[in-house]
Symmetry: C2
Subunit: 262 residues, 2 copies
Amino acid sequence: MTNDAGTVRSVPRTARERARAEITAEIIEAGRRHLATDGAAGLSLRAIARELGMASSAVYRYMASRDELLTKLIIDAYDSLGAAAEAMEALPDRRDLIGRWSAVCQAVRNWAIANPNEYALIYGSPVPGYVAPADTIAPASRVANLLVQILVEAVGRRGPTADGSDGSVTGSGRSGLVADGGYGGPVADAAARALEPILTQLSAAVPDAAMQTGLMVWAALFGTVSLELFGQFHNVVGEGPGDREAFFAECVRRWAAQLGLG
Amino acid sequence: MTNDAGTVRSVPRTARERARAEITAEIIEAGRRHLATDGAAGLSLRAIARELGMASSAVYRYMASRDELLTKLIIDAYDSLGAAAEAMEALPDRRDLIGRWSAVCQAVRNWAIANPNEYALIYGSPVPGYVAPADTIAPASRVANLLVQILVEAVGRRGPTADGSDGSVTGSGRSGLVADGGYGGPVADAAARALEPILTQLSAAVPDAAMQTGLMVWAALFGTVSLELFGQFHNVVGEGPGDREAFFAECVRRWAAQLGLG
DNA sequence: TGTACATCAGTGAACGCGCGTTCACTGATGTAC
DNA sequence: TGTACATCAGTGAACGCGCGTTCACTGATGTAC
């Protein structure tokens, strides 16, 4: 392996550095396993050290504190979910918006079922006393970015809204209701104003009504997955083979309709 | 105070029984406060005993174990939320389905914001290692009962569905899609089958499509409240005065439309 | 109404366990000359 | 290539804290005669 002096390399060089990266990864992996057994509250550096056969104090060579490990696990979880969703979303033809939307939904649900405690870590109750640092923001928005992209393309396909405006201006300065472009009716002024943070982050223009619908469907997606995963579907939605999948597929179909895809 | 011998009374009689009921209530109340500070994972009988100025062992005269307290807190939370929703839902004119629906939604959100940790306890991540006993089922469905009642009345107002069936039969024995009665399109056979558990609990007939819509809106309601409460709206929905309320009100309006109310 | 006994609330010590984090120290690995 | 020194990984003991739960015991409250 060549190693030009002065070149900044992210790949570990020396045996020490390689070992360090490996053991750090092992600690995180062990933390992930603990998460699955005991949840975030039961995450313990001592238990991880025991599992890895090292003194509890040795872990501190790799991790400054329990909270740092928690942060790493949160980022990992967001990245894992994001990667799964991106991989599935990439499969359908780019013009097949329904296919792409369904791929994202199914990826989210499948990942959540496969990794229930990591899902709970990022979309469940916040860990008391823990505040997520800024590093978690970017990985946290990977799924949302996919959804936004699909929404933007769907909006673009429809062309300008019926009233001739480009639809991207929020409600300030206008009275009453804002034209909707077919996304479930116009949006009240105050509600349109509440959408500003997300709208200003977008490069493309999205009408208020479409954004409102997008957020609602986004909340519905994660709400549905959470309710199922957290046990609220008992005695409500069937638990026989394929029942949960069929219900979810029907949800996905209807959300796509609400988003005006296809 | 009269006390007829032989009469079964749920009200405590003797001073001892009165004291017992009071102290039990104090323990639960202290538990509720701890929930608000440390979350479910940090709930500790010792800490509660300390707060109440008694020996840690004394708590065991009133509570068999930590899990029993947790169960009581869960039931209390469901009951508290249920009572709040019922009280608000009772206010509008019975014929005003939109008003009743909005009242339930606002009550849920307001209660969740006022009692975030109790909300997290019942709608957030499950506590690892804890399994909710059967006593929690009835109080857990109080809000759902209100929603179902509104849905049933809305369906009743529309009369029989367009294809002449009463709409209550689930998909078995029919092929393809089932008539919807205007609720967001027909429901796939498999999805209709998945709805059986909830449909068989209802006294009135509800078409599959309406039930599907009802469940989806229910999940959307709690999903939206959860996402807001658990911090997922950061940089998405505005945090200025009234922003969150306006966004939620717009959601409520659109859900009512999806449910075919008004 | 008064006494004898049973019931119950509350105590304090103990068992056995877990945790996060620090610190002085040993010994191996890497680096500069 | 070999030596001297610096860096780093890992150890084991310790600090100080918390927890759930049990148990033998004291003393107050309630009950039956």
